[in-house]
Amino acid sequence: MSQLFRMAPGGAWAGLIDRSREIRFSFDGRTLRGHPGDTLASALLANGVRLVGRSFKYHRPRGIVGVGAEEPNALIQLRRGERTEPNVRATQIELHDGLEAESQNRWPSLGFDLGAVNSALSGLFPAGFYYKTFMWPASWWMFYETFIRRVAGMGKTATAADPDHYEHMHVHCDVLVVGGGPAGLMAARAAGRWGARVIVCDEGAALGGSVLGERLFIDGKPAPDWVRETEAELAAMPEVRLLARTTAFGYYDQNMVTLVERVADHVLMPGHHQPRQRLWLVRARRVVLATGAIERPIVFADNDRPGVMLASAARAYANRYAVIPGKRVVLFTCNDGAYATALDLADAGVDVAGIVDTRPDPTGPLPARARAAGLAIHAGHAVALAHGGKALSGVEIMALDGDRLTGSSRPLHCDVLAVSGGWNPAVHLFSQAQGKLRFDDILGSFVPDRAAQAVHVAGSAAGHFALGQCLAEGARAGADAARLAGFGDGTPPATPATSEDAPAPHRTLWAIPPIEPGKGKRFVDVQNDVTAEDVALAAREGYRSVEHLKRYTTLGMGTDQGKTSNITGLAILSGIVGEPIPKVGTTTFRAPYTPVTFGTLVGPEVGEHLDPIRHSAMHPWHVKAGAQFVNAGLWKRAQLYRRPGETEQQAIDREVLNTREKVGIVDVSTLGKIDIQGPDAVEFLNRVYTNAWSKLEIGRGRYGIMLREDGMVFDDGTTTRLGPNHFLMTTTTANAVRVMAWLEYWLQVQWPDLKVYVASVTEQWAAAALAGPLARLVLADAVEGLDVSNEALPFMGYATAHIAGIPVRVFRISFSGELGFEVNVAADHGMTVWEALMKAGEKHGIMPYGTEALGVLRIEKGHFVVGPEADGRTTADDLGLSGLVSKTKDFIGKRSLTRPALLAPDRLQLVGLMPLDKKDEIVRGCQLVADGPGSGRGARPPVPMEGVVTSNCYSATLGCWIALALVKAGRKRHGETLHAQSPLTGRSVPVKIVPNVFIDPEGARLRV
């Protein structure tokens, strides 16, 4: 038997489901049936499934409370395997064939849950439980975490990669309407008729909002029919885009609103090439928020029993989904809301056992209709306690005297209690947009007050809940928005007539006291198991601000972000501390409105599309040569070229030794290259570099370092004079973009009088560096029209020539410390020239080398690099380069160099390190501590730090590990022994301080 709670077909209000087709789905392994148009929640209720989850802390049985985004309990583990998704609200899952759903937070099964023992021990779980219990010692945290995870377990994430893909859409529009209910549809109609570009989004499977669950008439027809007709009218407008299944979840500066469209969540699997979800980044001239309102519960003892639900939800299940939420229902209300539910459910054949109304004398059309229908009204009463375990079995009602219970309690049997404590406008997006809220004493709720962006709020979202008002305000807002966006004169379309009864005033009421202290749990936040007593305890312990209250009790911190609990909790706190609600404050609303998957936020920017990838012109050659690549910023650089049978270290050693002994070639296209031209180019270089440039001859290059204004080294590289007013600057790969923006800053902001142009030419030139004693022979064989002798092309010389018939620039510079030439060629010809150099080098034993060997060569030569050594705290003098710092001219950062801290005698200085025992490896990042008692291995802290290891490598040339380090007053301490202590491995290696240049300290090899 199935769908015992489905209403019989026929009649005027038979629901919006398609009974002609049956859908099979599974819940906790049971196969159940529903219909198209159902949500998982409505289908579960149709099948009589009440118990849908266990609560977070106490593992109490829980049922469905709401009908939409507000649902705090029915959180589902949806789908299986790589597509599984935790914490999805059953109320927003569209039923489809093959849907697999599991309840969460229970072990071993939903019906029998061991964690429910927490409920019996609930005295151990007061407010601030986590803060009070899981504190010190820190070593216990591993245990705590295991415990918390096993007991709390809010569903499981998939462990395999997400097989689906996600899209991003960037759009502009004139009017974005958030919410496709009556107000939103009227706003769209108003703006659309004036020709504005309109986007309407609604989180539901169909437009219409709450009226789809009401028995109301608009324009003389049932509201769902009016919705369909209006939707058709909008769909026919060319500038209107309708997005159902689309939640606006974030409202950012300058009217940027983010939407998530669930493209393929209502089917078993996305279609071929179909994204699962799509993120819309909408920039709107005007935004109309028609986001509706969320009904709030009333707090009373054991108000979490499965079967206690919101009155609006109970009504919508009957009217929209043709599901009766139970056989016998009691209503509990402080306003007219529950009366519509009572009347609709009674009409649907449900036994209405009574309407418990806290108002002493409910009057007005709706109570009158209820009386006429013979429904029992318990005026001036409240529900004081719910009975039942896994399902509600009845309630105790008592008379109210003010806020106090009085008299004796009376039982009412029921399996559903439909509660209405009034309405909270959905002000989330308005508040995200920095709009100010105002507490409305009559509504007992926060309503939008002062907007901070180009936004209009209409209907229930503005605190105006009557249907006629929603339609009129929507039309008004849409017409105003269109006019302010430049469309029409602001005339709204006519407001259609409605059938709604005028509501009587409600009575704001938040919580019913317990019949006797400690009897039952009065839940404020059912998702996070926060009770009214927890709020009171927090207040007693001094957490009197709502922001503190939230964090201390976790109120409203669940996946539902307290949609049904925040304001109630705030009101209870306000009552305890004796301050009005607006003084206690409301919490800040933050994106997202409902949870958004990471897949959607990341969109297509995954894997190879995470970032743009930059390849040098010679990249295909490196691939063919079997290079292993490493990321250098966005660049892929050849790291090493492993030959069959080689380990990585063997490959690096071979590349290093071949370069030191014969000749190597390395792709240096990634170095930043900046073309500098203009009559003031020399003056400009004098100001940005620490050394002097006035005397540099045409056809010669020079090494320079740049400082920041605080005197620290920023970047380094060579700059070559190509003509009287023409220079080519090179920068480090990592800093190329930053240096360019830096030069532009100085030229445009500080020195606009200098006549200099700078242009980045990094991509325009491919570059290959030849290095090694045989480099000249290789170049001589390859080049046409160039004398490569030491006399014609000395160290730091520059010339133009041809290779393979292609014009090239040749720079005699070296990073490896060997005789070196760098060849630059227009990028399109990079491959041809590289191959020509390889061919010429064949008989000289040329080998390519990668960034690993490059690193070894530079450490052996003691060169600093930006990052490890020039880490933003080192000066030129720290790096041993004070000879490059001009005493006579001014330059960026010079003034800082005479500040006392930069002249301190114990500054960290660049040195080399050798292990005392040649077998020892010096690890990068090691702390260097002094030799002697109280230091080194086994010493008790504090041990004074003498320095830090900044770079390390195995030097095949020297046959041992070497390192560069920054050591206090290091240059005066050559020969001293320190200990390289790794806090991670606990290993300590004795090392000797040596000069930072390990090979050819005189630089003789460069100048042959």
Partner: protein, 101 residues
């Protein structure tokens, strides 16, 4: 995500720009002539006003111009931009500002 008015290119997405600090900071004309304190203040000390603030921005993924932008750092309201070397209008009083409903 902000929309930023480049004085050369018009209104563009924030992703095209880089923030460049307080535009009111003045570099001493002759660094050698100022005291350690004055230099320290120029290098390190920034005011953090609540409200309207003139900033430097760099249109790095556009025209590559540095320019001045007046922005309310509380409301994120854009209050005008200008090339380096031209003056920015002071912000309008609240009531006269565009974009307020």
């Amino acid at each position: 995500m902000l929309l930023i008015d480049c004085p050369w290119c018009g209104t563009r997405d924030q992703r095209e720009f880089t923030y460049g600090g307080d535009a009111a900071v003045k570099r001493p004309a002759d660094p050698a002539a100022v005291s350690d304190k004055e230099w320290h203040d120029y290098v390190y000390i920034r005011v953090n006003p609540r409200g309207s603030h003139v900033e430097l921005w760099h249109h790095n993924a556009g025209c590559r111009r540095w320019f001045k932008l007046r922005r309310d750092v509380v409301t994120h309201e854009m209050q005008g931009s200008a090339p380096i070397g031209s003056e920015l209008e002071p912000p309008l009083p609240i009531a006269g500002r565009p974009g307020k409903p």
